[in-house]
């Protein structure tokens, strides 16, 4: 196959990459072929080599990062993540507010007020009837089993088999939680709850007692529940 002959201008443009051996083989061959016959471009190669060598001589040896710089970087990564989550929540909040404002026309407001007033009257009437009907009779004391069950923010819901509830210390980063869960082969089921608890499920073949013991020894973990 006949090789394409490159012009001097084109070769001059390619010389920096010819010198650092960063041309495609076919292109490098064409440049070399041109240099064999062109003394002007050969002189240009030498001038270019001198420039490159001078630049490289002025360059510094490459330095490794300082030991603390990665910690500083991770702080920035976490701050950026928090900002991103915060912005998303704010954007969602403003969309909801905008939609509610658009929906609440004066007519709809009047209808909503009428509905609320009607319901209040209804509730008061029912309460009045119930309290008058029960007057004079001794009030039954419910025994413990019949007593209504109340659930508070900190009440524990029953956990399924192989499930644990974990509370981490406040200063533990998200990536540390992810690492720890991965390390112990724990799958995140839900969380964090309002009290900061994560519900996780252990692998089917995991020895749960060992996992719990490991978690309880970990200084980042404040509480592990769901195992005696």
């Amino acid at each position: 196959m006949k090789m394409e002959i490159l012009g001097g201008d084109h070769v001059r443009e390619l010389l920096p990459w010819f010198l650092i051996d960063a041309l495609e083989p076919a292109e490098a061959k064409r440049v070399a072929a041109h240099l064999e016959v062109c003394s002007g471009c050969r002189a240009e190669v030498e001038a270019e080599r001198a420039l490159r060598d001078a630049l490289r001589a002025a360059a510094t040896p490459r330095i490794a990062p300082h030991a603390s710089s990665f910690v500083r970087l991770m702080e920035q990564v976490e701050a950026a993540e928090r900002r991103r989550l915060g912005t998303r929540a704010l954007r969602l909040g403003s969309v909801v507010r905008e939609r509610v404002e658009r929906w609440l026309t004066p007519r709809r407001l009047r209808i909503a007020a009428l509905v609320v007033a009607h319901n209040v009257v209804l509730v008061l009437a029912v309460v009045g009837i119930m309290s008058s009907g029960g007057r004079g009779q001794p009030e039954a004391v419910p025994d413990a089993e019949q007593a209504p069950r109340f659930e508070t923010r900190s009440s524990e819901r029953p956990l399924g088999a192989h499930r644990l509830r974990i509370v981490f210390r406040d200063d533990v980063a998200i990536w540390e939680i992810v690492d720890l869960l991965r390390e112990q082969r724990l799958e995140l089921v839900s969380g964090p709850s309002q009290v900061g608890a994560f519900e996780v499920e252990a692998a089917v073949d995991a020895e749960l007692a060992g996992v719990v013991e490991h978690l309880r020894r970990d200084p980042r973990v404040r509480l592990v529940a769901g195992w005696p």
Binding site: P16, A54, R56, A58, P65, R182
Partner: protein, 196 residues
């Protein structure tokens, strides 16, 4: 489970993981792979950015910015370009933003001084010679536009082919060649004027 795959491979005598592999692990939130990537790229990025922006403080700030973007966008890296091209592209765009934010041009004197501080001490004569060479090189580089300077740095300090430089700077390859051509011409003129 506690070790990323590449650490186990290293223990078994396998080669260090590729950049793409580390980026894939970073996309899954693997902090250790992110640290490995950071340590691998820090020396190259710091040198490039210091010469590009001319201030140690800004170079470090841009380097951190770059790595934050790498962490956030690792999932979007599609391997259409080399990982190094992708990372240097981010660094270049962050550097442009950093310079605009500070509304200033690179400080050559600071680059040269920082590089002097970072270099290992040599004989006093050689140190002096190198210092002078650095100062003249950096003042010549500072005379170039940031686009031209970036092409020179990526070609002569990073040995990148023109096609990759075009990807980093997001411009056509012919633009890269033209910028390099004019940059070389200007550098030679500046350096010969200084030598006289």
């Amino acid at each position: 489970m506690s070790n990323p795959i590449w650490k186990i491979e290293r223990r078994l005598g396998a080669e260090a993981p590729s950049d793409s592999r580390l980026i894939a692990a970073v996309a899954r939130g693997d902090r250790r792979s992110f640290e490995a990537l950071y340590r691998r790229y820090y020396p190259r990025l710091f040198g490039y950015l210091l010469n590009l922006v001319g201030s140690r403080e800004l170079a470090e700030e841009v380097l951190d910015d770059t790595m934050v973007v790498v962490w956030q966008k690792a999932g979007g890296f599609e391997r259409r370009s080399k990982a190094s091209t992708w990372i240097f592209g981010i660094a270049y765009r962050r550097a442009l933003k950093g310079l605009t934010r500070r509304r200033r041009e690179p400080e050559t004197a600071e680059s040269a001084r920082v590089l002097d501080e970072l270099s290992a001490p040599d004989s006093p004569e050689r140190d002096l010679g190198r210092k002078e060479l650095r100062e003249s090189m950096f003042s010549a580089l500072a005379e170039l536009s940031i686009e031209q300077r970036s092409v020179v740095l990526l070609a002569y300090f990073e040995d990148l082919p023109y096609s990759e430089i075009a990807s980093v700077l997001e411009c056509p390859v012919n633009t890269v060649k033209t910028r390099m051509f004019h940059a070389r011409r200007r550098l030679r003129a500046l350096l010969s004027a200084e030598a006289q």
